[in-house]
């Protein structure tokens, strides 16, 4: 997970993550292994109502 974030250019940004609709804490990303067909969410702050 950590590597994916780096490859996608998010390493310098504040992001939060989830895999298959399960939250993955920032400190757990290094140990979170991704497999084929996993659905990954990487989100950043945004305007909201």
């Amino acid at each position: 997970m950590e590597r994916l974030i780096e490859e996608l250019g998010f390493s310098e940004q504040t992001v939060a993550t989830a895999v298959n609709q399960e939250f993955v804490r920032s400190k757990d990303r290094g140990e979170t292994l991704l497999v084929e067909d996993d659905t990954v969410e990487i989100v950043t702050p945004r305007q909201g109502g």
């Binding site: 504040t14 939060a16 609709q21 939250f23 920032s26 969410e41 950043t44 702050p45 909201g48």
Partner: protein
Amino acid sequence: MGKSDDLVVYDARLSSRFLLGTARYPSPAILAEAIRTAGAEIVTVSLRREAGGSRAGESFWRLIRELGVRVLPNTAGCRTAKEAVATAQMARELFGTSWIKLEVIGEEDTLQPDVFGLVEAARILSDDGFCVFPYTTEDLVVAERLLDAGCRVLMPWAAPIGSGRGINNLFGLRALRAHFPDTPLIVDAGLGAPSQAAAVMELGFDAALLNTAVARAGDPVAMARAFSLAIEAGRAAYLSGLMEPRDMAAPSTPVLGRAFGDGFEA
């Protein structure tokens, strides 16, 4: 109004009863000025996917932090309890707050809450230490279930999100206020005009949350002021004790002693 009328919600004591959304403004500068003019102490925020390296989210977050307001992240767009729970957990880490405006949407045309998913998610999140602000309907039974689930505030809609229709169900909102006199009730969604915001405050609701009516106004900053004044006026009117409407006229000027009235007999 002095500090005696502060609104206490979870761990916060608020002097402003105007909560403002941060979406759909013409520019970040206008958003910032609208928040300042509104006097809002709480603003809603969200989280979304973004292309790596875009930094749009980062600059928005910096702007909000510089304003020194408290943020209330939402779970907008979530359609299941599971999505909402994961979104809330991501928001807590991203924004550094356990406050969450919980939205679980059940119907596309009205963006009506899925109240079953809402109660389910509210229970999970409350048990996990979140301070849940549930976006709900005026349904009394659902409100009771949300309080049972751990919510200490309720956010009933006035009308569908972004509709600007004002109070859709006056009886329902009145009943909700009467049924839960000690629970902070923040009307969220559907307010399109300052008069509508004043109306919900006159009913005794504790605060109003809105976004579109300000953000999409011709002059959002001026509209933020208009809503701020209306919310304050509505609150003051509620506290002052509004007169009961009556069917027949009642003269305000004393009748006794009027000229040409029933005079004295010579």
